[in-house]
Every structure is written in C-alpha cells, then in structure tokens.
Symmetry: D2
C-alpha cells in the first residue's frame, strides 16, 4: 500500500523522498519531523559533517493546511555542504563500504559516484518519511522507540564514552547494537499465507537495509536456538480486561509472521563505521597498485543514529501492514475499520 522512494547524494543539492499511500486527514507537524532529524544527527562520536548539517525538512506536496490529502508526500532536506561537482575523484576504495563493488558494478572510474549515494546521509529522508508513519501509527496508539544496547562491547554510558574516546584516539571506529520496540501493535498484521507477507521478514529487510547493519533478531532472537521449546514459547492467557495476553515475550511480538498483540521487539547489530581516519590497505582501481584507502570525513560511531533510522523504517513497515489490513484512503474510514476489529476481538 505504502511506497517510498528516496533520492539524493551526500554532497548533492538535497535529499528527497516521495512517500505514497499515506491516507487523507492525518495531521502533520513539521517540527516533530525536524526533531527526529535532529535525533538522527546526535550521539557521542559523530563526525564533523553533523556540525555542518542542520537538517530541516521541506514538505513539498501532499499536505495542505497541516493535513495530508491522500496524495504523495514529497520531502526534501537540503544539503548545506552542496559541493558535489567540485569534489575530487576517489580511486582507493574503502574496505567495508560499497566503494569497490559499486565501481565495478556500474563501470565507474571514480569511486565518488558510488559513495555519494551509498553514504548513510541518505537515511535522513528515511527518518523524515518514518516520522510521517509515526504520526499515522500514533492515531492508533502505536509507538515506536529505540535504545542503544551496546557500543564496541560496552553497555554502560560511561564505558561507551570511554570506548569512543579510545577509538577516536586510535583513529579507529566502532559499531554496536540497539533495540527497537513497537508498542500497541494490534494482533493480526502481516501474514503466514505467503512467504513475502510475513511481518518479521519485512521488518528484517527494512532494518538490514540500514547501512552497517549485519544482524537482526526478534525477541529472544539467536539465544532461543540454545533453549528448549518449553523455555521459549510464550504461553497464552486470557482475562476479561486484557483479552488474550502473554506473561513473557520471547517471540518479540510476532508468531508465524503475524503480530500477536504483544510489543514488537527487534535488535540489530551494526558493524564499525567503514571510513577510518587511519586507513586500511586498499588498491587503486585504475593503476591496480596497493594504496591506503581514501579518507573521508566520518563518524567514529553512529549506533544511536542507526536506532533512530530503524524506528523510522519499522514505522513504515507497520503502517503499510496496518493499511493493508484496515484499508486505505481516509483516517476516518481506517479508524472505523480498526475500531470494529478491536471491538470484535
């Protein structure tokens, strides 16, 4: 139901997205989108680019007088550092990045043409689009949040800061892990009826598509592979007030590819940033001679940002599944459909 295409290069004029399928009648608050953009730019260990860019969204279409009209919503975030035509060629691919594979794939003699698009800067518009999806979900009391769990093996905030300082000193980089939680998701989103309609499959794709993510898990996740069934599956209970409910949530809110009414909980693991100040061994793509990888201005660590981006893409997938189940077009109609369903449960 929902479609999203993004566009834009890291040092191009702007980042853009078109979000299609958002129903009519939804109140949109630009300030909250800008707050989300700011959240994406924050976190200890971010690079100098974050000081240059002060991301603000322009909503170019699809919203009149603060409300959606069911038409595609175009989002634009200008790049302050718009310099793409003046930037030098790059010939030494960075290990860990799309640099080499991209240059070979597209027949480029300049890695610049890869990294401008492969840059994580693109995720700013995914956050903006995700913020719109959050507005939609909020109408149905669904809230998506995230938190950093670990950075470079450390879990407490002070240890994390020290670790980041250490990495900076060593001109090295760090990754980490974060959790995304979606509360208030009704039972019945996604489906087991076809492999590609499973909600966990869609969420996994969306989160794995965030730059740097190397692992995704739901609920108890990888750990569930070590246990017996009786220790893992969430027993089912019922009470008048709550309807069906669970006392545990090892499933992370999804059973058989379908949301089960509990909070959806997923965790993702991010590798360290691929742009190192002390560059790794590489090869000049033209001369084929050994060289050090190109040095690009970059973060030391961006796990907090990745969590914010993940919130956005999770909100997108949930909104899409919600619209598929309850119908599209207008908030009034969708609410009627949703309330009828909830009442029937």
């Amino acid at each position: 139901m929902l479609r999203l295409l993004s566009a834009g290069e890291s040092h191009g004029q702007a980042l853009l997205a078109i979000l299609e399928g958002m129903p009519a009648g939804l109140r949109v608050d630009k300030r909250i989108i800008d707050q989300e953009l700011k959240r994406r730019q924050s976190g200890y260990g971010r690079g100098p680019r974050m000081k240059i860019e002060k991301d603000k969204v322009d909503i170019l279409s699809g919203v009149i007088k603060g409300k959606t009209i069911g038409s595609p919503i175009a989002l634009k975030i200008d790049n302050r550092d718009f310099s793409i035509d003046r930037l030098p060629s790059i010939l030494a691919p960075r290990p860990g990045h799309a640099d080499l594979a991209g240059a070979l794939k597209y027949d480029f003699k300049d890695i610049r043409f890869v990294l401008e698009r492969a840059s994580a800067r693109e995720t700013a518009v995914r956050v903006a689009a995700g913020a719109l999806c959050k507005f939609f979900l909020k109408e149905f009391k669904i809230a998506v949040s995230s938190k950093v769990l670990m950075v470079g093996g450390k879990t407490s905030e002070s240890e994390i800061r020290h670790k980041i300082d250490e990495a900076k000193r060593k001109q090295d980089t760090l990754g980490g892990s974060f959790e995304v939680i979606a509360k208030g998701v009704p039972v019945g989103l996604g489906s087991y009826a076809q492999y590609d309609k499973r909600l966990d499959a869609k969420l996994a794709a969306a989160v794995m598509a965030i730059p740097g993510i190397k692992a995704v898990e739901f609920g108890l996740g990888a750990e569930s592979a070590n246990k017996m069934g009786s220790e893992v599956h969430d027993e089912i209970f019922y009470s008048k007030g709550n309807g069906f409910y669970r006392k545990t949530n090892n499933a992370g809110g999804i059973e058989g590819g379908v949301s089960n009414g509990e909070a959806i909980v997923l965790r993702a693991y991010m590798k360290p940033i691929s742009s190192l100040a002390q560059p790794l061994d590489s090869v000049n793509i033209i001369t084929k001679k050994p060289t050090k990888a190109a040095i690009q201005r970059a973060d030391i660590c961006a796990v907090l940002a990745a969590g914010v981006i993940a919130e956005g893409v999770v909100a997108f997938v949930l909104s899409d599944a919600f619209l598929e189940k309850f119908g599209s077009d207008s908030l009034i109609q969708i609410r009627r459909s949703y309330e009828g369903y909830v009442k029937s449960l």
Copy 2:
C-alpha cells in the same frame, strides 16, 4: 524479475508453486529436485509425518523435453496424508505458532484453518523452486550450500544427537543455527541505490520468512558490533590472476548492499519447534477457558531442514539479482552478457 507464489495446505491435496521469470534453455533434472526434497525431509529428530510423506515433484508446465522455455514453471508436490476435510477442529492455540494471531486476524472459529497453511510443510515447494534456481546459478558456477552449526546449544554431532534424544524424552523440542554459503557470486549483485534493492536486505527477508527463524546475520554478524573497524573491514588486494580479492571475509560477501565477489555467508538462528508433545498453557478460543495447547504430530528438531530451505530461498534471491543485472529471457543471451562483464572486470 523472478516471481514465486506458493499455495497448499499441510493436509490438502498438494503443495504448489508457480515460479515465473526463469530464462529459456535451462536444463532441468527432476531427480535432483527430488533429492533436494529428500534432504529437506531428513535430519535426526524429525517427526512421524516425514515417514508418511515421500516428496516428489511434478513439473506441470514451463519445461519441455527437459529444458525451460521461459514460461512459468508450475511445481506440485502431492500430500500422501491428504485428509483436510476430515480433520477435527482445533480450539487451543499453540504458543509459538501463528495459531492465535491467525485465528483472530481471519475471524476463524477453528484454528485448523490457520495451521494448515502456517505449517512448515509449505516449505517443500520453496525447496523445489529453489532447486530450479540452483540449476540456473550452476550455469554460472555459483553454488549454494548449508551446514548445521548448532542444535540446542550443542555443536558436535554426538552431542546434538544426545540433546535431541533428551528433548524427545522430555517431550520437548529444540532449535539451533545453520550457515548458508554461496560461492562464485560475481561482484555487483544488489544495489545501494535504493534501500529495498540491497542484497542483504533481500536475503534477510527471504531467510527470516522461513518458519521458526528468529535471527539472521551476515559474515562476522552480531560479533562485529564488539570490535573496532580496523579489526572488521576486509582489506582489499589485487593480483593478476584473481583480480581484486580479500584475505578475510568478515563482511560475508556483501558491502553496501552489493555482492563484493567473496563468498556470501549468512547464519540463521531457529527457535525450538512450537508443537510440543507435552503441551504448554493456552486458552480455548471459543470458551476463553484455560486449557493445554493442541498436540500436533511434529518434529523435535528441524534445523537441518531449515538449512536446506534457506539454500533454496537464497538461490532464489541470487538468481533474481543475477537476472536483473544481466538480463533475462534466454540462457544464451544471459551468458553472453555475463561473460562480457566478467571479462571487463
């Protein structure tokens, strides 16, 4: 480029799939597909159903005289245990399964209508379709294999057998983990250009869509979140004979959403089977009274099978990305396009 829809219930007449977009001129060997189906049915700890079913594929269309003709390929696997209309209603949802969520989603008063489709039996046709994709990949010397890494926390074969025996005795179930490796994948499949074209995102979705999978990771995976960038990223080298290559493969063959020419390596973690002989607490969906979950004939452990299924879905995703890059229609034309590319690298 490739499209795949599956159909069929666990105790219905048959399982079916239509695979669309496979190029013309590909040799198809039914016996090898049947071998793959047999692999899916094997492994220590499988249940009684595996003794009943002797899966064999019928290729109903798209292949003439042993070769594909570019038309949709219909695959059918008959169920020996075809009994769907005689089977009793089920009212006690099994924790871990789609049972409860499915019944509420679709307004069912009988969980039978859920579990017949949500059953992992459906994966047989995904394996058959995957076998066709393997034929295609083999033409380009791409091979997809899998191996079990761990079951219930145990890694050696003898320990695994003991663990499964123990689970059986306790009327409990087990999960585990497995690895899928795709060798020979050319550099340049997938793309960073749009979030949903990333090869790792597509692979993650495909593998997460296998029943029971709760975590997916590439290369060093979750572990990479604990390390520094200089320890993780695979440095780039070049030699006349090999072209660009790496000495490590922590990336698991994918950087920036694009295959980088190294083997693609992913691992998946499966939760224990959700059907327990010693059932968990549940609630009757009609009376809302507490009860024990329904008992369904099931495996103790199916990690080996899950690996075989994962090979199939990985082969599907890789074939699709390959066709997107090199064109479709005919093996002759695709080979020409592929060889020109490889030569240019």
Copy 3:
C-alpha cells in the same frame, strides 16, 4: 493486494493459477466456476479443440469445506489433449501471433515452444480466477457481465452467423467487439493520486492483455473525441434516495481514474484469429526460405469467449481495488468497513 500468476501450456498436462489475497470466509461454488469455463468454450465459430476439452476446475488449496481461508487458492484445469512432448516442431511462424517475435526473443529453433504458452488456452485459468473474484464482488452486490457487440462488422445474430459461415468457407477468420459492464461498483475505487493507481489504467491493461485485443475504450470512448465538453460530461444530480447520481454515463463510470458510482462500461475490439486454415505468407525460421505459415487447429471466431475472459479480468481488477480501499483478511471485517463507508456517503 491480490496477486495472480498463471502457468501451463496449451498441450501440457494442465493449466494452473495461484490467486493470492482473497479474504477468508468467502463461499466458493465449484459448479459456477465450471459454468464460467463452459461459457468461455462456447460461441459460434469455435474450433475442434473446444470439442476435445471439457474444462473443469480443481481447487487444490485455499478452500476448506467450501469456504476460503485467506490462503492462496491454487486452480488446476487438466488438458485432455496432453501431448506436448510428442508434438512436431514448427518452423513457419504465423503472422499475427507471437510465433516469430517469441522465437527470436527466447533463442528458440522451434516455434512450438512459443505457441504452447502464447496460446489463448491459458485464458481458461484467468476465467477460473475471475470466477472467484466474482464470488467476492457478489457479496457486495457488484456484478460483471459482457455481451458481444459486433463480429466482422456485423451486429445482428443472424448476420454474425452468416459472416462466420462465410469466413469458414473462405478458410479465413474473424474478430469483433464486446462490452463489459460492472454494476454496483461503489464510488471511490482507484485513485488519481499516482498514475499507476488509476482504475481505468488497470482495467485497460487487464483487458489489453487478453490475446487478440487491439483496442479498449471506456464509456463513450473514442467517440468522445469528436464532441464538445458540454455534450460529453455527465452532469451531477442528487436525490435523497439515490445520493449523487447521473442521468448519462458517457464517462463509463470512471472520472479521474476513480469509480464514480455509475456502472463501469468498457468496450474492447478483437482482431481476427491469427491461425488461418488458408495460411498466409511466412518464412522458415531456420532456412530463412519463404513458406506458408504453420496451420494450427483453431477457432474461426472467439469474440464471445473474449468477453467472458474480460469479465474475469475486470472482476480481478475491481476486487483488488476493493480490497485496497476496504481492507483485506476476512469477509466479516471487509463488510464492516464497506458498510460504514456506504452509510457515510
């Protein structure tokens, strides 16, 4: 929301389709599907194949005890004339058919591999799938019918019969035109919000995809290009009983890509059958020498059948748009959503 893939060759074992996305709880009557299949086989001027085949559908999945369960529905129609592996090669492409273009596209040295799939026999499963969609639409009092308007320039039944007799005598073939009418379609299906969501665009594609169709028009159609706006546009009226209504329907029930509550009316024009008993000039695809086109057993005229097929594909498109607007999953939920909307109008 709805997905449909078909498979099968003209002289293969069977024709198949998988229809995905049909909601749960819909009553399915196999006899009515078979009646639709029979309607597709009838009409004056049909060829000998129609005497061999007595199409009956097998519903292999997705329906239990006569009702859909929200799972993919697999449909199979066996070919009595299953002989594909014994049939001779064909080297002389028939003008008007996919024969030549198909052989070049797929690198075939035998046109048999084209015509087996390009055959209009495939449309039998589209009719079966369409019959299921008609069951769905009927729940909301939407009915899709068709009628032949003209055959070979003749409009009365007796003239049409004479024309077909004449064509048969001359070993020639005929086309014609037909109209499809969908009554009871609610206002608001389809959308102007994105070019590919327009209902008329989707219907045009579906009908143009029927073999032999060369033109499609809505309402007054091509004729509207000759008139002034004041003569064409359907003025708007309102009454307590009817709500908004029109006294004319030149738009054919669609304005701006959206159904407007009036009957949807489209007409299609079919070229004459491409297989002539007195064959046209052609070229041997191997020797490149002039030859007469291959002679294949065929109809003289199949306009009535094309109308029946068009009903099916129109029902599919309308069902899909209906589900998109009102939500999917269960007939109970969809009805609730639909009735709330109708009441609000």
Copy 4:
C-alpha cells in the same frame, strides 16, 4: 526495473518525480528536457495557466557532471503560481473530473484537496521523466514521437483552429486523438509468458493513465475487428539486409504481447477538457443543493500536450522492458548485451 513516483499539487510549491533504475553513464541534457516541457505547454487552445508557468526542470540528484550514476534521479519543476494555502474552498464538483468521486473517496469537505492533485499539471514531471527515458532509448536508436490526428472531429490544421475558436466562443471545450510512434524498437520486448508482462498491456495502462484519455488502440486497432484475418495479419518476409520484416504494420509493432521489430504505433482518444467556462449542472457537496459546477481556469483543448505526455510514458515503458531484457546498471554493459543480441538475430 524502472520505478517512477510523482508528487506535487497544481498550485503547490513544486512538482516532483523520482525515477529509479536508470543505468549509469547516460548523458543528460537539461535543455532538451526543458524543450520537452515547453512542447507540453504549447498547442492552440491552451489556457491562461500556460502563460504563467514557464516550466524548467531541476535535476536534484542522480546526475553528476552531466551523466547518470545509476542512482535515483529526482526531478523538480517549480510552480510559479504557488498559492495553494490561499486558494478558496470548492464545493461544486465538475462533471468529468475526479472532483466528486475524489471527495467521497477521501472524506473531503473541500474539493480543492482533490483537484490540486488530480490536475493534469502533474503530467509535467511525467514528461520530464519521459525525456530521460528518451535519452536512454536514443542510445539504441529508438525514437518516440507523436502527432495530433484529430480535434473535435476535425483533421486539418485550419479546421482544427476554427473548431477551437468556436469552442472558445461557446465557452466549451474539445478533445481529439493522437498517434504515438516508436521507431527502432528491437524484436522481443515484453512477453506473452504472463498476462501482466505483455508490452501492449503495459503501454495501454501508461497511456490510459493520462488525464482525459478514454480509448487506446494499437496498429489497425478497433478497425481490425471489422476485417477478416487474411486482411489484417502482417505477412512475414526475410531479406539478407533486413532480416525478418513486414510490408504492412496492422499489428502496430506488437504480436502476442511482444514487440516484433516493426514500429510500435498506438492511438489514443481524449475526451474534451472537463473544466468549462460555461459550467454544467452540479450539486453542492455540503448542502446537496443543485448548483453550477465550479469554474477553474483551464484549456479549451490539450490534445497536442497529451501526445507529448504519451511520448514520455511510452518511452518509460519501453525503457523498462529494454532494461528487463538486456540487463541494467551501466550503459556499457547494456550496449554489449544489446549488440550481442542484435548480431545473433
């Protein structure tokens, strides 16, 4: 392979499009895109808006130093008449437009929210995206052009001018018909293998999705329904120099849903513009009282523009089918694949 989403309202800040999947290495000339935009704005009988807007495209992404980089291309056309938040509400739907159906579909109390997006002004970005596709096709010597055939029943230029003057005097509007021709299309685009892959079906959808189009036909089109097969089908010939060829092109370049190497020829019929200066009968959507339809600044006739738009959408569909057959990513690779194919024919 190609994806296109457009966004923007008639009096919003700008019109936008994101075109995804265009290969790398394609030269882009902004001036030619602007010329295409100018062509869309021209023609006798256009309204005052055409005097206000001087459409120029901004290419915001996907092009560096005049060449595509394989990344999504964002296109923006600013609206000079950006006034959407100041414009008055509209309550009287115009017959022929999406006004009424749109307001009911989306629960609007102001038709402004419909007409801003349903406006044909949106087609400007389709023309811009189409111009990019034309650049791509030109690399393979494929050219797409159009010409007006008829306006209000008149075919000569002087008669057409008189007719438009008459319509203006009467405060009425006109439609007409146009032809689109694509020359140089190789044999083998599109496929009969699945109903929705037929090239004519895709072209019909694309052209029918242009506002005001009520009929689409290929080659001899509707007229072929009046003739016998021997009069219609294009006999096949062969010569050393030309390969396979035809002396007639009644099929309009497509047989069995596949391009056959002849020029693709389609015609479309446009109804008169729906905004009349002398408005038709309508109903106030709030009070339900009879009223005259809202008067909106509009063209008398826009058939020439519709032809230009049709060129663009045809170029999009052909480019997409071309990429599907010959592979994507880089112009160098696609050319290699294409030339190998052409040589083999």
